[in-house]
């Protein structure tokens, strides 16, 4: 079949076929992503029963945090339960497991989790300062069993570094005291001795990682062009050859006639 006109025809046909692929692609939703985004799933610690997700988008020195959860303790002494929440840095960038419960009270408390997630670098407060100093200020913590938190603020260098190195961890605190062991119910917080252990123990934890960028490479194009080119070529060749043969026969017979 070398040099057959069939092949040439196919060569021109393929781009033609491609041109008919509808390229109805308007430039997608005009928000060009700028800055770097991080995400995490917030999973329950200490049997809190909560679940959530957070994203952090960093543009220059500013961070925009979008954090949601449901299923945490709803009230504390008749009032909406304050759940302090932080970005921890400076350790493994991981969440603790029950094996980190060193004193065996059935609760991984905030200090016991520090080898995994480190110390507070940013307080995700509802207003006012976002530094570590505000870490235990329950008046600026989201309150209630579920929350949808959005805030934009200037990010400190320690948190920025931890985000970039993959060691930043979001921890939401505050357990329902009724779910604690007798022993743990009588314990005091090792952060704020005036508060019970339940108030500051971790309830949700999630290690932040950079959000994937761009779409996916999930195609080879094997079905994008023309399949079974060989079959088309052979078929085309036979057709052309047959046609040619028939034509020459015609000429031969008409001459004879």
């Amino acid at each position: 079949m070398e040099g057959s006109p069939v092949r040439k025809t196919l060569k021109t046909l393929i781009p033609l076929a491609a041109a008919t692929v509808p390229l109805a692609l308007l430039p997608a939703a005009a928000h060009a992503d700028s800055g770097t985004s991080y995400q995490t799933t917030l999973n329950a610690l200490n049997g809190s029963g909560g679940s959530g997700m957070a994203t952090v988008t960093v543009q220059g020195h500013r961070a925009t945090v979008n954090l949601s959860y449901t299923g945490l303790a709803t009230t504390f002494g008749g009032n909406p339960y304050p759940h302090v929440q932080h970005i921890h840095v400076g350790a493994n960038g991981t969440c603790p497991t029950m094996s980190d419960d060193k004193n065996g009270d059935g609760i991984v408390d905030t200090v016991e989790g520090q080898p995994d997630y480190g110390m507070v670098a940013t307080t995700l407060s509802t207003k006012g300062p976002t530094s570590a100093k505000a870490a235990t200020d329950i008046t600026v913590a989201p309150a209630g069993g579920s929350a949808s938190y959005h805030r934009s603020f200037r990010l400190n260098a320690a948190t920025m570094d931890a985000l970039q190195s993959g060691t930043a961890v979001i921890v939401v605190h505050g357990l329902d005291p009724a779910t604690l062991s007798k022993k743990a119910q009588n314990e005091k917080s090792n952060l704020v001795p005036s508060l019970p252990l339940a108030a500051t123990a971790p309830a949700l934890c999630g290690a932040l990682s950079s959000m994937p960028t761009g779409g996916v490479a999930t195609g080879t194009g094997s079905t994008g062009g023309i399949e079974d080119l060989g079959m088309f070529a052979v078929g085309g060749g036979l057709l052309a050859g047959g046609g040619a043969l028939f034509a020459t026969r015609r000429r031969a017979t008409s001459k004879a006639g």
Binding site: L25, A28, S51, T70, A73, P212, T220, G242
Partner: protein, 238 residues
Amino acid sequence: MPRRIISLAGGRRGVIALVAALAGLALIGVAWRAQVSAPQPHPSGRIDVAAAAPTADLGRSPSPARSHPLGPSRPVRIAIPAIGVHSAVFPIGKTRTGRLGVPQPGPRLNQVAWYRRSPAPGQPGPSVLLGHVDSVEGPSVFFRLGDVHPGDKVRIRRKDGTTVVFTVNAVRDFHKAHFPSRLVYGGADLTTPQLRLITCSDYVASIHHHIGDQVVFAHLTSVRHPRRAAASGTRAEE
């Protein structure tokens, strides 16, 4: 009889010519029928991801005092009855350049992958699953993803035995150069359990590349908890 046909066709050569031509036509016909191409619907546009998605209907009466969201448990199977998809699901990470990994050649090439850092299906936020539209072997698991329509159901079974059912809100095509990563992998609403199904779209033969990505947006509409004990051995697959 045969004589007559031969003479009608104009001798033995004529018969050969005729047979060759017919065989050629038949071959072209077969090849034509073998042509496959992925559905390429919906151009990109504004995404209206159900601000008022029915998320309360979770198969149980919503408790005003305290809701019980699903915790983490990785997806193991997916079914999209509308396009005949039934596949195992396996976890996948990111590439070194920070993009989503994709199923590699091997036994999982044509399976669906779940991005392990996204919520498990049923947890709050968008759970991200992806599959090939085609591979070197031909059509792959998400070949017909473009045929999915709003209202279609996506069933996912988790490792903990829970089956979560999502309902499609929108199917959109994005140019790869303008892929809205934050909208797809995050989005404004992280409170409700959602789903994103992603595959390639818009193949351009002249450059041998897909230039688009297709994304199915869905939200959780029901949860089926595993039946206790007795159920475990009897239910083979959704």
